[in-house]
C-alpha cells in the first residue's frame, strides 16, 4: 500500500528505495523541508560541501568510482547555478548524477522572487534531461524516472527542480516498481550483421588497433573484462583515451599507453598507421584525433557506441555498431570464436615489432635533476610508492593531469577520476572527497596543480569535517603550467597572466583547515614526504615544489596529425602554424 506523505518525505523515500546512501549538498531556504527530513533519518548520509560546485564534482567522483549514480541536493537560485559547471562536466564525461534543486513556491515562479532562477531553463543544455515538478503526486515517479534516465543509455546528469510548496504538500508515494519509465529505452544489443562485418575485417587485418574509451568503464565491470578477453585472445595492441584508463591494465602486454594530444608516441603512431581500428566507447574527440583530415588515413574504422549521435560526428566510420559495450563485445567474441578464432597472427606479430620500434623512442623520457624535483619524477615516485595498494587517483586539469595519465599505471576501471571533456579546473579535490566517502578505507590521492587546487580549495573544510583522509598531491610550479606551455609555443613566450603570484603557504592553509601540511623541494626528500602523506590518518596537502618551466611532452600541436608529434623542447621551434593557433 502506498502511503500519503509530504513531498519532502517522498524525496527521502524515493532516494532510499533507489539505494542511495550518500547525498552531497548545501542547504538553503528552498530546500529546508528536505533538510528537515534528512535530519530525522539515518539511512542516507548527507555530506555538507562548502560550495555547490564541490557537491557536483564530489557526486561525480562517487559515481565514477562506484558505478552508482551520485546525488546532489542544492537550494534554488545560486545553489542551482553553482551546480551548472559540475553538471556540464558530467554531461561531457557521461557521468550519472542526479541533482535535486529547491525552487521558490509554484505561485511565486516568474515573479523574480528571492533566490529564484529559471533552473530548468539554465540547466536544459547541460543536463541529459530535467524536470520542474509542479505537483507532489508526480514527485516520486519523476525521481524514479530520473534515476532510470541518468543511468541507462549514455549516462549523464539529470536535474529535478522541486518548488518549496511541492515539498510541503502531501501525496501518495509511488514505489519504484509502480513508476512508469516512459519510452526511454536505449538499444543495448548491437546489430549482429554489423558485428559480423567487424569480425570479418578483423580476421584479415594486418595492423589492427583497439582504441577504447570511457564508455567501456560506464558499461560496467563486465565490459572491461570482455575487453581484456578480446585483447588476450586476438593479441591486438590497445590504447585508450584519458577517460578509459584502467579498462585495460597498464601492466598488460598489449598496452600502448594513452593516445591523443599528450598520448604516447607509440599509440599515436599506431593509430595513424593502422589498417583496422576498433573504437570501443570513445567519441573521436578533438584531443584524440588531432587534424581530422589526416586522422588514421588507411584504416577501416569500426565504432561501438551506445549513443547514435556519437557515430560519424567527427570522423566518418565504416562499420558503426550502436549498443552497450558489454553486450556488443560479448557478441563480438561469440561471432569471432564461432568463425574459428582467426587473425592474421604473422602480420600482427610484425605489427608488434613495428610498434616496439616506436616504443624504443622512449617518448616519456625527460631530463632528470638532483636539485629540483621534476614533476614527472614526482609522479613516478608517487606511482612507485602507491602501486599495488587499494588506490584511487583523481586529478585537477592541466599539465599535472597529463603527467598523471602518462606516469601512473591504472590496473582496473573506476580507479582514475578526471575531468576530460570539459576540462574543469577545481574538479579533483571535491572528486577525491566523493571517492573517499564511497571508499572510506582506500587510499585516495588528488594529483593537483597549484592553480587548479585553489579553484575549490574550500572543500578542505568538507574533508576535515567528515574526517576524509584525502591526499592532495600538489605539483606546485607557481604557474598555470599548461597555459604557460601554450604561451611559450604559440605566443612568443609572453606569459600573460599565467603566473600565480601571491600563492598561499599550502602548509599553513592545510593547518588552517585542520589538515596536515607538508612541503618538499629536494628530490632526495621526496620519497619520505610521499610516505608521510600516505601514512597520515587524515587529510593532507603535500606541497611538492617542482621545476617551474617544465613542458608536457609528447605533444601533438594543434592542427597537426598523429605522426607529427613534438617529443621534447628541442622540436618546438615554429611547431604550430597560423591555422593551428586558432584551435584550442
Amino acid at each position: 500500500m502506498s502511503r500519503e506523505m509530504t513531498g519532502a518525505r517522498i524525496v527521502i523515500e524515493a532516494l532510499r528505495e533507489q539505494g542511495v546512501d550518500t547525498v552531497f549538498g548545501y542547504p538553503g531556504g528552498a530546500v529546508l523541508p528536505i533538510y528537515d527530513e534528512i535530519f530525522q533519518q539515518n539511512d542516507i548520509k548527507h555530506i555538507l560541501v562548502r560550495h555547490e560546485q564541490g557537491a557536483t564534482h564530489a557526486a561525480e567522483g562517487y559515481a565514477r568510482s562506484t558505478g552508482k549514480p551520485g546525488v546532489v541536493l542544492v537550494t534554488s537560485g545560486p545553489g542551482a547555478t553553482n551546480a551548472v559547471t559540475g553538471m556540464t562536466d558530467a554531461l561531457m564525461d557521461s557521468i550519472p548524477i542526479i541533482v535535486l534543486s529547491g525552487q521558490v513556491p509554484t505561485f511565486m515562479i516568474g515573479n523574480d522572487a528571492f533566490q529564484e532562477a529559471d533552473t530548468v531553463g539554465i540547466t536544459r543544455p547541460c543536463s541529459k534531461h530535467n524536470w520542474l515538478v509542479k505537483d507532489t503526486a508526480d514527485l516520486a515517479q519523476t525521481i524514479h524516472k530520473a534515476f532510470h534516465i541518468a543511468t541507462t543509455g549514455r549516462p549523464g546528469p539529470v536535474l529535478i527542480d522541486i518548488p518549496k510548496d511541492v515539498q510541503f504538500a502531501s501525496a501518495r508515494y509511488t514505489p519504484m516498481n509502480k513508476a512508469s519509465k516512459g519510452h526511454y529505452a536505449p538499444q543495448l544489443k548491437g546489430d549482429i550483421d554489423a558485428i559480423t562485418a567487424a569480425v570479418k575485417a578483423l580476421e584479415t587485418a594486418k595492423r589492427p588497433i583497439i582504441y577504447s574509451g570511457g564508455g567501456v568503464i560506464n558499461s560496467g565491470a563486465g565490459a572491461s573484462q570482455l575487453l581484456r578477453e578480446l585483447v588476450s585472445a586476438t593479441n591486438i595492441p590497445v590504447t585508450s583515451t584519458l577517460m578509459g584508463l584502467g579498462a585495460y591494465p597498464a601492466s598488460g602486454e598489449n598496452w600502448l599507453g594513452m593516445l591523443g594530444m599528450h598520448g604516447t608516441y607509440e599509440s599515436n603512431m599506431a593509430m595513424h598507421d593502422c589498417d583496422y581500428m576498433l573504437c570501443i566507447g570513445a567519441r573521436f574527440d578533438d584531443r584524440i584525433t588531432g587534424r581530422t583530415d589526416a586522422f588514421s588515413p588507411d584504416s577501416l574504422k569500426v565504432h561501438i557506441d551506445i549513443d547514435p549521435s556519437s557515430i560519424n560526428k567527427n570522423i566518418h566510420v565504416d562499420i558503426p555498431i550502436i549498443g552497450d559495450i558489454a553486450h556488443v563485445l560479448e557478441d563480438f567474441l561469440k561471432v569471432w570464436k564461432s568463425r574459428g578464432r582467426k587473425t592474421d597472427a604473422a602480420a600482427v606479430k610484425d605489427w608488434q615489432h613495428v610498434i616496439n620500434d616506436w616504443r624504443d623512442i622512449k617518448c616519456l623520457a625527460y631530463r632528470g635533476s638532483d636539485t629540483i624535483i621534476k614533476p614527472q619524477y614526482a609522479l613516478q615516485r608517487l606511482e612507485a610508492l602507491t602501486k599495488g595498494r587499494d588506490r584511487y587517483i583523481t586529478t585537477e586539469v592541466g599539465q599535472h593531469q597529463m603527467w598523471a595519465a602518462q606516469f601512473m599505471g591504472f590496473e582496473d576501471p573506476n580507479r582514475f577520476m578526471t575531468s576530460g571533456g570539459l576540462g574543469t579546473m577545481g574538479y579533483g579535490l571535491p572528486a577525491s572527497i566523493g571517492v573517499q566517502v564511497a571508499h572510506p578505507d582506500s587510499l585516495v590521492i588528488n594529483v593537483a596543480g597549484d592553480a587548479s587546487f585553489l579553484m575549490n580549495m574550500q572543500e578542505l573544510g568538507t574533508a576535515a569535517q567528515f574526517r576524509l583522509p584525502v591526499k592532495q598531491f600538489i605539483l606546485n610550479n607557481e604557474r598555470l603550467g599548461m597555459v604557460r606551455q601554450w604561451q611559450q609555443l604559440l605566443h612568443g613566450e609572453r606569459y600573460s597572466s599565467s603566473w600565480s603570484e601571491s600563492l598561499p603557504d599550502f602548509v599553513k592553509l592545510a593547518e588552517a583547515f585542520g589538515a596536515k601540511g607538508i612541503v618538499v623541494s629536494d628530490p632526495a626528500e621526496l620519497d619520505s614526504a610521499i610516505q608521510e602523506m600516505i601514512d597520515h590518518d587524515g587529510p593532507v596537502i603535500l606541497d611538492c615544489l617542482v621545476e617551474k618551466h617544465e613542458n608536457c611532452f609528447p605533444m601533438i600541436p594543434s592542427g597537426k596529425a598523429h605522426n607529427d608529434m613534438l617529443l621534447g623542447d628541442d622540436s618546438t621551434e615554429g611547431a604550430i602554424d597560423a591555422s593551428g593557433s586558432i584551435l584550442v
Binding site: 530548468v120 547514435p308 557515430i311 560526428k313 566518418h316 565504416d318
Partner: protein
C-alpha cells in the same frame, strides 16, 4: 537495426579519400519529430539547433494526440548530408522525443503551408490583386472597401510566388504557419 541508415562496410579505406564532393552540398530536409507534450520539450528541440549551430528554415508544432499528450514538430532544415544525419541522431537523443522521421528520404510526402496576407489598395491594384487571388485559388477571409485578407494554402513555393505578386499590389502584413508534412500512402 541500424537506426542511422548508414552504409556499412562501404569502403576499404578511410572516408576521407573517398568523400563524395557532392556530400559537401547542402540539402534541405523536412523532419517530423514526434514528442511527448511536456513542459520544455520545444525549448529542448530549438536549443539543440541553436546550441549546435544547425539551421531552422521552418518550424511548426502543435499537440496532435491530446489523449496521449503527444505533439508533432515539423522542422525544415538545411545542411550537408553529414550534418543532417547528426541532427537526426541528436534529436533522437532527446528524452521526450520518441521518433524522428526524415520525410525527405523516407519516400514521397506531402507538404503544405498556410498563410494570411493583408493587401491594401484601391482601383486597378485592388482589381489585379483579386484577379491573381482567383488564379491561385486563394480564399478571401476578410474584406473592406480598400483591403483584403487572403488565405492561401499550398507548398512554400506557391506561397512565396503569391506573396511576391502581392508585394507591388499593396501587401502590408503577412503571416505564415510554417510547413506541415505527412508521408504519402498508407505507412
Amino acid at each position: 537495426m541500424n537506426s542511422l541508415n548508414l552504409k556499412q562496410g562501404s569502403s576499404r579505406k578511410s572516408a576521407y579519400d573517398l568523400k563524395n564532393p557532392l556530400d559537401e552540398r547542402e540539402e534541405t530536409h523536412t523532419l517530423a519529430v514526434l514528442v511527448d507534450n511536456e513542459a520544455g520539450t520545444l525549448a529542448r528541440v530549438i536549443g539543440l539547433f541553436s546550441g549546435r549551430g544547425y539551421n531552422i528554415d521552418s518550424l511548426t508544432v502543435a499537440e496532435t494526440d491530446t489523449k496521449g499528450h503527444r505533439s508533432r514538430i515539423t522542422i525544415v532544415t538545411t545542411g550537408t548530408p553529414a550534418v543532417i544525419e547528426q541532427i537526426k541522431a541528436q534529436l533522437g537523443g532527446i528524452v521526450p522525443v520518441y521518433r524522428v522521421h526524415d520525410l525527405t528520404v523516407e519516400g514521397p510526402s506531402v507538404e503544405r503551408e498556410m498563410a494570411l496576407l493583408k493587401v491594401v489598395g484601391t482601383g486597378e491594384k485592388r482589381v489585379e490583386a483579386m484577379r491573381l487571388a482567383d488564379v491561385f485559388r486563394v480564399n478571401v477571409v476578410d474584406s473592406t472597401l480598400d483591403s483584403f485578407v487572403f488565405e492561401i494554402t499550398g507548398t512554400s513555393e506557391k506561397i512565396d510566388a503569391f506573396s511576391d505578386l502581392m508585394r507591388p499590389l499593396g501587401l502590408v502584413e503577412f503571416a505564415r504557419t510554417g510547413v506541415a508534412a505527412l508521408a504519402r500512402g498508407n505507412t
